[in-house]
């Protein structure tokens, strides 16, 4: 099964050079079609920004102000109280410690899940591109097809196996599950990267007597920095944003932030505190959003390949 072309060419960073004369003529003319296009562009931008704006202003208002002023109004008396409550006081099930416990749980899950999956993905990609052991492509085909399958198909047997091994509901269990479901995309990413490395480089290292691990550690890994960065962005985002795996496998003591957030908002009874809810949502989305805004170009690079994960 060949699916490498699922990773399309990266979006060019420089615009395509259009024919110059036509451009100069076009620049002077504001035709109705062109105005319509910009109206659409600005309207779409407003639609995409609206939830972010509402999230931020809601989190800065008091509940009274939310009820009186309407959802779009700017806060009259901005307050950080909802943020403090969301971080360290809001109730999630039995305890009322805020989402900070979930934050640290998510960190504890994300760090090993990212490092281990990237390492294994790199070894897989390296072996698949250069050593090509018999039968490896079939395995890779199964792995890639698995990336498209809903986790519901695999989840119950995995639960049984984890329970038998006595690790169900523990940190190793959730890291292992993230490893299983992160491996296809990470392997694909590294395989495609190493496929573009000149094969002569590998041949030369072989002639110099390099073995499997030596060539990997001394030749391939040092030149893999760009793909490692892309892989790390994708894996951190994927693991941080995961809900279903954390819900099933992490257990009460390692409950990730995403599961906690949903509990805060959907299982509390009584009056809904929209301001606290929105502050908690921003806090939870902050890590991947910050990663996106800081790493822009790299994020876009990974997105094409990471989209496989869905």
């Amino acid at each position: 099964m060949k699916m490498e072309s699922i990773v399309p060419p990266l979006p060019a960073t420089t615009p395509v050079a259009a024919p110059r004369k036509a451009v100069r003529r076009a620049r002077r003319r504001w035709t109705p079609a062109r105005i319509g296009l910009y109206v659409f562009l600005l309207g779409a931008a407003l639609f995409f920004l609206l939830p972010l704006y509402v999230m931020i202003v809601t989190s800065l208002k008091s509940m009274d102000e939310i009820r009186q002023g309407g959802i779009f109004a700017l806060p009259h008396a901005p307050t950080l109280a909802p943020w403090r409550l969301a971080w360290s006081g809001v109730c999630t099930g039995a305890a009322c410690d805020g989402v900070r416990t979930g934050f640290w749980n998510s960190v504890a899950i994300t760090v090993p899940s990212t490092i281990l999956t990237i390492l294994l993905g790199a070894v897989n990609g390296y072996a698949l591109s250069f050593w090509r052991p018999r039968g490896a492509n079939l395995l890779f085909g199964i792995l890639l097809a698995g990336a498209f399958v809903p986790v519901q198909v695999m989840i119950y047997p995995l639960v049984r196996v984890m329970a038998l091994a006595g690790i169900f509901g523990s940190l190793p269990a959730i890291v292992l599950v993230h490893l299983v479901f992160g491996m296809p995309v990470m392997t694909l990413l590294f395989r495609n990267y190493y496929c573009n490395v000149p094969h002569e480089l590998f041949q030369a290292a072989r002639i110099d007597g390099g073995g499997f691990w030596r060539i990997f550690l001394q030749v391939m890994l040092p030149m893999s920095l760009p793909v490692v960065v892309v892989a790390a962005i994708m894996q951190v985002t994927g693991v941080w944003n995961d809900y279903i795996l954390g819900l099933v496998f992490a257990g009460r003591d390692n409950m990730p932030m995403m599961v906690q957030l949903n509990n805060v908002i959907n299982t509390t009874t009584g009056v809904r505190q929209y301001n606290v809810n929105m502050a908690a949502t921003i806090l939870t989305a902050l890590v991947p959003l910050a990663l996106y805004f800081v790493s822009g170009r790299w994020f876009v690079r990974g997105i094409a390949a990471g989209a496989v994960k869905g």
Binding site: Q152, I155, Y156, G211, P288
Partner: protein, 295 residues
């Protein structure tokens, strides 16, 4: 001699984790689920073989049939909206670049940032935005649209449509990025030729470029279709399947029967049914790729 043998064996040992994951984590677990779906398992798997009875039960189950119906409605609307919005955004950004206007980076960032947010966060934000009374409709009433009512999220017939709105917001930026990459691969000579012939831009896009983008569209379709089959987080966060069971989807039906309603056999049958359309989409795609590879 010894080292020679070692180098032959090492690649195999290095790929052992991948082999285990592929053979046990995906293939083995999938087959096990299929086996469970043929048994009368309740809370725990049992060896009591009952053939296809679970599948009969499944398709007699009102909640499952409603889930399938919802998924069909959701799937059609979500895929169409993502494709149309994603393509239009890519075209507008592409035109913007051809006119040598600025702002491309800003617009791309704005359209893509929702993709960095999880489906849970997306669902929760849109739940708040669409809350009748306090949400958008209240805000618009305060701005003077007094007769406006927008209560789809608590409506039996339209709750699933609100999930479409939220997830399209989250994913259409991704479609835009992939389509834009496709548009940038179009030969500039085509534009020159079209201009010489005086063909309007919209016709160039509709009749020349869109057919050329077929491989990109196939990839996007596959991604969107698998996202449809996986739909779970957004529903849980936004409507919890409600009001009542009005916005239930198959993935949630399976999870509920696995972990809350202790009906593992029925849930496994549902999982296998959910697998069928995914494989049906994947097979022609993989076949086309391998044909292309062989040629």
């Amino acid at each position: 001699m010894a080292t020679l043998r070692l180098t032959r064996v090492t690649p195999y040992t290095a790929l052992l984790p991948m082999a285990l994951v592929a053979a046990l984590g995906y293939l083995g677990a999938g087959l096990w689920t299929f086996y469970i779906s043929l048994t009368g398992s309740r809370t725990f798997p049992s060896g009591h073989f009952i053939g296809l009875a679970q599948y009969h039960r499944l398709f007699d189950n009102e909640r499952w049939m409603l889930s399938l119906h919802n998924l069909a409605v959701y799937g059609v609307l979500f895929v169409l909206a993502c494709l149309v919005i994603g393509f239009l955004l890519a075209v507008v950004i592409d035109q913007n670049a051809m006119w040598k206007m600025r702002g491309e980076g800003v617009f791309r960032t704005i359209f893509l940032y929702p993709y960095a947010m999880s489906f849970v966060a997306t669902g929760l934000v849109w739940q708040w935005l669409l809350t009748p009374g306090d949400g958008i409709d209240g805000g618009l009433r305060a701005l003077g649209f007094h007769d406006l009512r927008f209560d789809w999220i608590v409506s039996q017939d339209f709750a699933i449509h609100t999930v479409v709105i939220a997830t399209v917001w989250q994913m259409s930026g991704l479609v835009m990025a992939l389509m834009l990459a496709g548009l940038r691969g179009v030969d500039p000579e085509i534009w020159k030729a079209a201009r010489l012939d005086g063909i309007p831009a919209w016709r160039v896009y509709a009749q020349i470029i869109l057919p050329m983008l077929w491989p990109t569209i196939a990839t996007v379709l596959l991604l969107l279709a698998t996202a449809v089959a996986k739909l779970y987080d957004a529903v849980v966060a936004m409507t919890q399947g409600g009001p009542g069971i009005a916005s239930e989807v198959p993935a949630k039906f399976i999870m509920d029967h696995l972990f809350l309603r202790s009906n593992v056999g029925l849930a496994s049958a549902g999982a296998i049914v959910l697998l069928v359309p995914v494989l049906a989409l994947l097979a022609p795609y993989a076949y086309a790729r391998s044909r292309k590879e062989a040629a």
